[in-house]
């Protein structure tokens, strides 16, 4: 994304925020609505949380993460020829180096294709052979650290019947070195980041730091985007951190044609996830097994992808440079998302792409609007075509190979073409966006589908609750009190650690709740004093005690502590982490829920707290349980690390997996969602009312549910997030919080009125 486009999007965002009346303008004058613009921003940035997306845009706008692509190849060659005529040797050398990088990429393409041919029948257990050196030798390195465990491989399966999958591809990851892009035609598709990745892989990295390595790589490959390089390095390094039992986030871009071609990019948060999971000491297994559930947008089928690897050494994780995590595969996202966007909103392309968004502030730049848009597009296309011909023709002459440097060069040229049209920036921006869309379609034959894939450590929809800068641990002592222990006391110990950066303005708050079958009440607890700042690596611990009297019998004592702080060195304010603990006192009622399976006392306490949370809405709990709790709902505990938290089975069984019991609010969410399935199986009329109310049609499916996008799951999710939306962020939308009443007012009102009897949480 170039700075101009980022600035344009930011201007549009500001205009919509500052001019609420835009929403009421006639549609022909309004251009994109705010939700549409926000959707585009989140898609282009790859950030689901709009605040993060805006922050990323601001980085781009300030060129802190912007591409540092110099001239395209055609221009380089022209410059080179001019330099030769001028007998400017220094400039010739510089330009030759730049041109040579394109040749390297071309040779890498050949090599990659040869590797792919040799791996027609890959064996997942056999490490692939090291690739040959490229024809143009890069500077040697003293030490080569393999970026990827040699036995890592990716297995792609497609379900052909419930429970039966057929492997359609099994690719040694080392075949693509950084495992950053997998596919038979990855290079053939001229995706710049792929070219960069493969070129990078040839370097043999002695990674002192990501940034230094990125600098070195970029020195050798001046056309490469620094942000992409940094991101790829982070990804590659993170990939080498695999340890048995780890689970990863991945975002997946798969081309439909040919069917077994795919592109894989690790998510921005991967290094963080790896670190978190190391700390959480996930169960070790003999092999790393990662399962991604995903729903293809085109055929709406669930596919599973397994990534399996032998144990790999676990070196220390170096610090990740600022912004790297935010920059992963931005360009890839843009291209793939743009293709989706083009399919989804084809009418925007060319004609209504940001025609008058932010009219108040952008009118001068946009000018007459659509005519210039058309002009910009035409200019862009002409530039695209010209540059493309120039690039390939030159390469063909120079190196006997073709088709290199496509994406970056062509788009860059197209941008230049667009900028050249009167009307200036706005026109160019429209051209850029349109060309991205159409270019993506051209490159990928309109057959890309992009799926968010979920490799989670716990359950469905669980949030990225905690900041990576603040670690909060909390323990309750004891966790279980019998009636004979009353009166007594419970102590909660809280430990706060600054994980990476200095923390300032630290604020600790807690929410202590006493829950019983009779309802819930908040307790006032005075916290002891604590430091307001922490240096990197420093911690503080404090303890507070709650007196438990006889009237606490048969109840749950829940305590959630929230720590907020600023991270001045990262220019971040309001980072937040939470931790929770609960204590079971006596034998609290569980209404109609019957615990089956290996529940520990702590888990049972957490689940009981979830039941009590739901019971705050008597209408809902009675609908589930009956007036006298006569309808038993079995809660079955299964100690499995699935990609989801729970599962409902007819007629009345809810299975709770590990991910559904990460903390009390998560447990409430899981139980409410699965309870939603139980509810609707008994109240079909409410479901029909939900359909006919058009709630989902008007607001779309709630974004926190990442798997099956269907009306019945949306109904369950409508119920699932209702009791927890204030306290839980959701992985299904990239760790976003959902301001339920304003983001999904129709869902919220339907749930409030028809399910929860008017009770608000």
């Amino acid at each position: 994304m170039n700075p101009e486009l980022a600035q344009f999007l930011l201007a549009g965002h500001r205009a919509l925020r500052e001019n609420p009346t835009i929403a009421r303008w006639p549609s022909k004058n309004r251009g994109l609505t705010e939700p549409e613009l926000l959707w585009i921003i989140t898609q282009l940035t790859g950030k689901e949380v709009i605040e993060e997306a805006i922050q990323l845009l601001e980085y781009y706008a300030r060129e802190q993460l912007s591409p540092t692509i110099p001239s395209n190849l055609k221009e380089l060659v022209e410059e080179l020829e001019a330099a030769r005529q001028e007998t400017n040797e220094a400039k010739q050398e510089e330009l030759l180096h730049k041109v040579r990088t394109f040749i390297v990429a071309a040779k890498l393409k050949e090599q990659y294709a040869a590797e792919r041919t040799a791996q027609e029948q890959p064996s997942p257990r056999i490490p692939s052979q090291p690739a040959e050196q490229p024809a143009v030798t890069l500077p040697p390195r003293e030490e080569v650290i393999p970026l990827v465990p040699t036995e890592l491989y990716l297995e792609i399966s497609r379900p052909i019947q419930k429970g039966i999958t057929r492997t359609i591809a099994s690719l040694p990851a080392q075949a693509v070195r950084g495992a950053l892009s997998l596919g038979q035609e990855a290079l053939g598709r001229k995706e710049p980041s792929t070219v960069n990745a493969l070129a990078f892989a040839q370097l043999g990295v002695t990674a002192v730091s990501f940034q230094q390595t990125a600098d070195e790589f970029q020195r050798q490959n001046p056309y490469a985007e620094k942000s992409v390089v940094s991101a790829l390095l982070a990804q590659a390094h993170a990939l080498s951190q695999f340890e048995r039992g780890h689970r990863l986030y991945m975002s997946l871009t798969r081309t439909i044609h040919p069917p077994n071609t795919l592109h894989l990019a690790l998510s921005p948060s991967l290094p963080q996830r790896v670190r978190e999971e190391r700390e959480e000491k996930t169960p070790k297994r003999q092999t790393l097994r990662i399962v991604i559930d995903r729903v293809t947008q085109q055929v709406n089928t669930v596919e599973r992808i397994r990534l399996t690897a032998a144990p790999a050494p676990l070196p220390s994780l170096p610090a990740i440079p600022a912004g790297v995590q935010q920059a992963v595969s931005v360009r890839k996202n843009i291209i793939s998302q743009a293709s989706i966007w083009a399919r989804k909103f084809p009418f925007y392309v060319g004609r209504t792409l940001f025609p008058q968004v932010g009219k108040a502030t952008m009118q001068a730049a946009v000018g007459p609007g659509q005519q210039l848009v058309v002009g910009g597009l035409r200019g862009g296309f002409e530039a695209l075509g010209g540059v493309g011909r120039g690039t390939f023709g030159f390469l063909g002459r120079l190196a006997g190979v073709g088709g290199v440097g496509g994406g970056t060069t062509a788009v860059g040229g197209a941008v230049a073409g667009g900028v050249g049209i009167p009307g200036g920036t706005a026109v160019a921006l429209v051209a850029v966006a349109a060309i991205l869309v159409i270019g993506a379609l051209a490159f990928f034959n309109t057959s890309i589908s992009h799926q968010g894939a979920y490799l989670e450590q716990g359950g469905l929809g669980l949030a990225e609750q905690n900041s990576r800068f603040i670690n909060v641990e909390k323990t309750a002592t004891p966790t279980v009190l019998s009636s004979t222990d009353l009166p007594g006391e419970v102590s909660f110990e809280v430990k706060v650690t600054a994980t990476e950066q200095k923390l300032t303005t630290i604020i600790v708050t807690n929410q202590t709740t006493h829950l019983s079958s009779g309802g819930s009440r908040g307790l006032d607890v005075t916290l002891p004093s604590y430091p307001k700042e922490l240096q990197p690596g420093e911690s503080f611990t404090f303890t507070y005690t709650i007196q438990v009297t006889a009237d606490f019998i048969d109840s749950i004592l829940s305590d959630i502590v929230t720590v907020t702080a600023d991270v001045p060195d990262m220019n971040i304010t309001g980072e937040e982490s939470r931790a929770a603990a609960s204590v079971t006192i006596g034998t609290p009622s569980t209404f109609c829920f019957a615990f089956d399976g290996p529940w520990t006392d702590e888990e049972r306490g957490m689940e009981t707290e979830a039941i009590f949370n739901l019971a705050r809405a008597p209408t809902f709990i009675k609908a589930l349980c009956g007036e006298s709790n006569e309808r038993t709902i079995h809660l079955v505990r299964r100690r499995e690390d699935t990609g989801y938290g729970g599962m409902f089975q007819r007629p009345s069984t809810i299975t709770i997996y590990n991910r559904g019991l990460l903390w009390s609010v998560n447990a409430t969410y899981t139980l409410a969602h699965e309870g939603g399935h139980a509810y609707v199986s008994r109240f079909g009329g409410v479901y029909r009312q939900f359909i006919d109310s058009g709630v989902a049609q008007q607001e779309g499916f709630i974004k926190s549910y990442p798997l099956d996008k269907s009306t019945d799951e949306d109904f369950a999710e409508m119920i699932g997030i209702y009791p927890v939306w204030r306290n839980l962020s959701f992985r299904g939308c990239g760790g976003c919080f959902i301001t339920y009443p304003s983001e999904y007012p129709l869902h919220y009102q339907f749930a409030r009125t028809n399910i929860f009897g008017g009770v608000e949480y």
């Binding site: 008994r682 109240f683 079909g684 359909i691």
Partner: protein, 191 residues
């Protein structure tokens, strides 16, 4: 007065026949109107059910447009042309599928709480099979009375009916092959 009496005396037979014809026409129109509301069709076995004057397997596309008017939308699904007509639901449309130029399947969207699954079970007995598809985890199962040419997408717990399908009576296997895409005989897992 005498002229009128004379007229009636002269043409009494014609007048009676005309009145009878009007009465029959009124009854026919009334019955046809009610036909769209009363879900279970009392069609005997092996005869195609009738919906709003449309008989699957018999009524042509032209006759459908004569009876129901022009569709609000059309689409193609598995090589069938589908005409969409408004229903009581603002969201869901009634759908008429055509095989070639003949109506072959009608999906009626039900909104009335007066139509329940029990009325179908009372009329047709036990379904030939149950199929699970969209809305399955919301408790809605397609109760297929394939030999009657009727299927009801309904929640067996509270009897809510979402859709009623009308088609040419056939065996279940044939129904599954023809119209059962997207449905399965096994209950899907939902998370």
């Amino acid at each position: 007065m005498g002229v009128i009496t004379s007229f009636f005396k002269k043409h009494w037979l014609f007048i009676v026949l005309a009145a009878l014809a009007f009465a029959l026409l009124g009854i026919f129109l009334f019955a046809q109107e009610r036909g769209g509301e009363v879900a279970p069709s009392p069609t005997p076995i092996s005869q195609s059910p009738l919906w709003n004057g449309i008989t699957p397997g018999q009524t042509s596309q032209e006759e459908v447009t004569q009876k129901l008017g022009q569709p609000t939308q059309t689409r193609t699904e598995n090589s069938s042309t589908v005409f969409l007509y408004p229903s009581e639901s603002k969201i869901r449309n009634n759908e008429v599928f055509f095989t070639g130029t003949t109506a072959s399947l009608i999906k009626e969207q039900v909104t009335s709480s007066g139509v329940t699954l029990s009325s179908y079970l009372d009329t047709y007995g036990a379904p030939d099979a149950l199929l699970y598809g969209p809305h399955a985890t919301a408790g809605f199962t397609l109760h297929v009375f394939s030999s009657r040419g009727v299927a009801a997408l309904a929640n067996p717990t509270d009897g809510t009916v979402l859709e009623v399908w009308y088609f040419t009576p056939m065996g279940f296997e044939q129904f599954q092959e023809l119209w059962g895409q997207g449905f399965s005989t096994s209950y899907p897992q939902k998370f």
